[in-house]
Structure formats: structure tokens, C-alpha cells
């Protein structure tokens, strides 16, 4: 399958006191939803902020839509307007009320559609009869509601790329499901032209809307690929205690209990396990994520 990149990262480096993000090469496929997954503090937010242009001081290059540089993103309104970003904090000033939040977005973004914005707020149950007051301060909204307001803001614009930092975390299960629908609708709006990149800890909730993943650990991309390809690259193995020692040396990652063991194995090594009484399953994205994270974590005790 041929794909082009909506964002290409090359030799990105960003150093902090105790942490360094280093991404040599990472391409986000155009027309798909990509999930950035990794431990807290792994560098997901930093990477998203670099791509969104919130952090400008870094080494390396980010290319947008196959041809625009970071400078273009800052200077060419066409590029800037086609990218929507939602963060975990808020880009609304705390003392703004909902009316002001809308007005500011109308001023800031050329393609901001006020009617669409109101409709999406209704869809997301932010505007819910008397429970919602127009003069309510942004600061007094719950985390989930603030996320919804930011989502409505980016969705009310005519964009080609959404960058979302942890959009699912503050949402309840019903709204997470809604978020997945929103992402699918967005991708289907213009077949193959629109892309979404989001970070998430809610791998299972987002699995059915994740096409490509990049797993980030300790500032490095430790695994990346289309989900269906990764499901072929790895196989999930379960076995009895008696086979644990023999199987263990070919496993990519495993956990063991009193009765047996289970974990991720590279498919290319699965042959070496033949003859043992094992169960082989196609791994879920969650199982791949956990296995890859555990194999790369710097935390002890895993």
C-alpha cells in the first residue's frame, strides 16, 4: 500500500534537564488516524507541541503536507489554517466566558464556522438545556467539558489535519465513543485527504479508530507501523508452566504466573516454539502496546 506523509519528522531533538526527545525519522501517513502511545513523560506531548508549533526551539525538521516547512506553517495562513490542535490544558484564558471563547476563535481562524461550532457543542452535550450558561467562565468547566469545547473549536474549522493531545482521557465512555465517531467522520469527509494524530493512554477505547501507531518510550520511538502490520509482526502466545523455560528465550516479552505464562513473540520466532503445547493468538493493539512498552521501559519491577 502506497501512502504519503501528512507530517514528516526528521532528526528532531529537544533537550530538557533530565529528558531528551530524539526522533530520527517518523512519518505520519496521510488519510489515516495515528495514535502516539507511551508512558507518562515519554515525550508524546513534547512531540505533538513541536508539530503544532507550540514549541519552536528544537533541532531537526518537520515537513507538513509533503512540502511545507515549519516556517511556512508560521507564515503561510493556508498551512496554519489547515491544522487544528487540542491540548490537555486550555488555550482559552481562564476568565473568559463561553461567549468570549467563541468570539476569539472567530477572530483567530479564517474558516471558523460559528453555526457549526454551536451545532457541535450541542452534539457533544456541552449545550444541554439549562445546564449550560453562556456566561459561564471557561475556568469553571470540568476537564471533560473543556476538552469538548476545544474539540468543537477545531471541528468548526476547515482543516486537513487534527493534532490532539490526550483527547480521550477526560471524556466519559459515552463521549469517548462519540470521539471515535468524530474521528471516523472526519477521515471520511474527504476520502484520503484528512488525517488525525492523537496521543492516548486509552489504547483499548481507541483501537477501532487507530490505523497507525508510534510507541514512544523515554524520548525514543521504539515501535511504529500500521496496526494490521504489527498484528502480523507479533503473535500472542500462552502456555503452561512446564514450557515456560523453553519458550521464554524466544519470547519478545512475557509475564508468568503460577499456572503458566503469556506474552508477545515475534512471528518470525514462532516456528522455534513448535512442538510445545502453546496457544497462538493474533494480538490486540493493547497487547502489542503493553509488550513493547514493557520491553522498553526504564521503570523497574516490570
Amino acid at each position: 500500500m502506497e501512502t504519503s506523509a501528512v507530517i514528516s519528522c526528521r532528526n528532531i531533538e529537544k533537550k530538557y534537564k533530565n529528558f531528551e526527545l530524539k526522533v530520527d525519522e517518523l512519518d505520519f501517513p496521510k488519510g489515516f488516524a495515528t495514535a502516539l502511545i507511551g508512558e507518562n513523560g515519554a515525550g508524546k506531548t513534547t512531540l505533538l507541541e513541536i508539530m503544532a508549533g507550540i514549541r519552536l526551539d528544537h533541532k531537526g525538521e518537520v515537513t507538513y503536507f509533503d512540502k511545507f516547512s515549519e516556517k511556512d506553517r508560521e507564515n503561510n495562513p493556508e498551512v496554519k489554517n489547515s491544522i487544528g490542535y487540542t491540548g490537555t490544558g486550555t488555550y482559552f484564558l481562564p476568565n473568559w466566558d463561553m461567549k468570549q471563547a467563541k468570539e476569539v476563535q472567530e477572530i483567530l481562524f479564517d474558516s471558523f464556522d460559528g453555526e457549526k461550532y454551536e451545532k457541535i457543542l450541542k452534539d457533544l452535550a456541552v449545550v444541554n438545556g439549562s445546564a449550560f450558561e453562556k456566561n459561564k467562565k471557561v475556568n469553571n468547566l470540568s476537564d471533560g467539558t473543556r476538552t469538548k469545547v476545544m474539540l468543537a473549536g477545531v471541528l468548526a474549522r476547515d482543516t486537513k489535519l487534527l493534532l490532539m493531545d490526550e483527547p480521550a482521557s477526560p471524556l466519559d465512555p459515552l463521549m469517548r465513543d462519540k470521539l471515535c465517531s468524530i474521528i471516523r467522520d472526519y477521515l471520511a469527509e474527504n476520502e484520503g485527504e484528512k488525517s488525525v494524530i492523537f496521543s492516548t493512554h486509552n489504547v483499548a477505547d481507541m483501537e477501532n479508530v487507530t490505523d497507525y501507531v508510534a510507541i514512544v518510550e523515554n524520548g525514543r520511538v521504539v515501535e511504529k507501523g500500521f496496526v494490521e502490520d504489527l498484528k502480523e509482526k507479533y503473535v500472542y502466545v500462552k502456555g503452561n508452566k512446564a514450557d515456560e523455560e523453553k519458550a521464554g528465550k524466544y519470547m519478545f516479552d512475557m509475564t508468568s504466573g503460577s499456572y503458566g505464562f503469556e506474552g508477545l513473540c515475534l512471528s518470525e520466532n514462532a516456528d522455534k516454539l513448535s512442538g510445545l503445547d502453546l496457544v497462538f493468538e493474533s494480538p490486540t493493539l493493547m497487547q502489542i502496546t503493553i509488550g513493547v512498552m514493557r520491553a522498553n521501559t526504564k521503570l523497574s519491577g516490570f
Binding site: 477521515l187 471520511a188 476520502e191 497507525y212
Partner: protein, 124 residues
């Protein structure tokens, strides 16, 4: 189309199975396009890449052809190939029957008798 998340059959396989049946049963005319990739993903509440994998499988079987930027259209199904595909289905179903016959402890002649009886019923 019913997609089961817990059947053990990969989702892409369930989708390609369903379309293969429809195509082989002639529900799609030659040259007709399958639903758009992202439209189908949206309808079935699954990821885009899973839908692509299902369509790519149909393509590798020669049932559909991909056109850059337009999607996948259904190929002319030649009689020989159709027959072969159906034959494979029959074999699969019979293998399944043999498996259950063994579990039930039926002898080979009992199994063929059952088949013959059913054939007679189907003719009537």
C-alpha cells in the same frame, strides 16, 4: 454486515468474507464499486486500515481491482473461477461435517448415508 469483535476471526477477514460471498452470489455487478474505504470504516465503526486490509485481500484473490483515488471495483467473474470458489466452499463445509461426524462417533458409511439421504431430500 455483522462484525463480531469476539468471534476469534479477524475483523478484516469477516469483512472480506462478507464481500466475497456477495460478489460470488452476483450481488455486485461487474464494474460496480465497493463502498469507499473510509465510508465503510465509519459505518462499521472500525479502523480505516482494517477496511483496507479486507479490500486488499479481495484484490489479491482477483475479485476486485484497485484504482488509485477511486476505490475498488468488482471484476468480471469468469465461470471457471466461480466454480472453483464454490467448490472450495463445498469442500470446506464437508470437512466441517466430517469433523462433527468424528466427534459424534459416526462411521464413514453412516456419514455417506446421511449425505445421500439429504441429497434425496434436496432433490424433492
Amino acid at each position: 454486515m455483522i462484525i463480531s469483535q469476539s468471534s476469534g476471526v479477524p475483523i478484516y477477514q469477516q469483512i472480506s468474507d462478507s464481500f466475497r460471498n456477495d460478489i460470488l452470489e452476483g450481488k455486485y455487478e461487474e464494474g460496480a464499486y465497493l463502498p469507499s474505504i473510509r465510508g465503510l470504516a465509519k459505518e462499521l465503526k472500525i479502523s480505516v486500515i482494517t477496511t483496507i486490509k479486507a479490500y486488499e485481500q479481495l484484490e489479491s484473490e482477483g475479485l476486485v481491482t484497485a484504482v488509485q483515488g477511486k476505490g475498488y471495483y468488482v471484476n468480471a467473474q469468469d465461470g471457471e473461477m466461480l466454480r472453483e470458489q464454490h467448490q472450495r466452499k463445498v469442500e470446506g463445509a464437508l470437512l466441517e461435517a466430517i469433523k462433527y461426524a468424528k466427534i459424534a462417533g459416526m462411521s464413514d458409511s453412516e456419514l455417506t448415508d446421511t449425505l445421500n439421504t439429504l441429497l434425496k431430500f434436496a432433490e424433492e
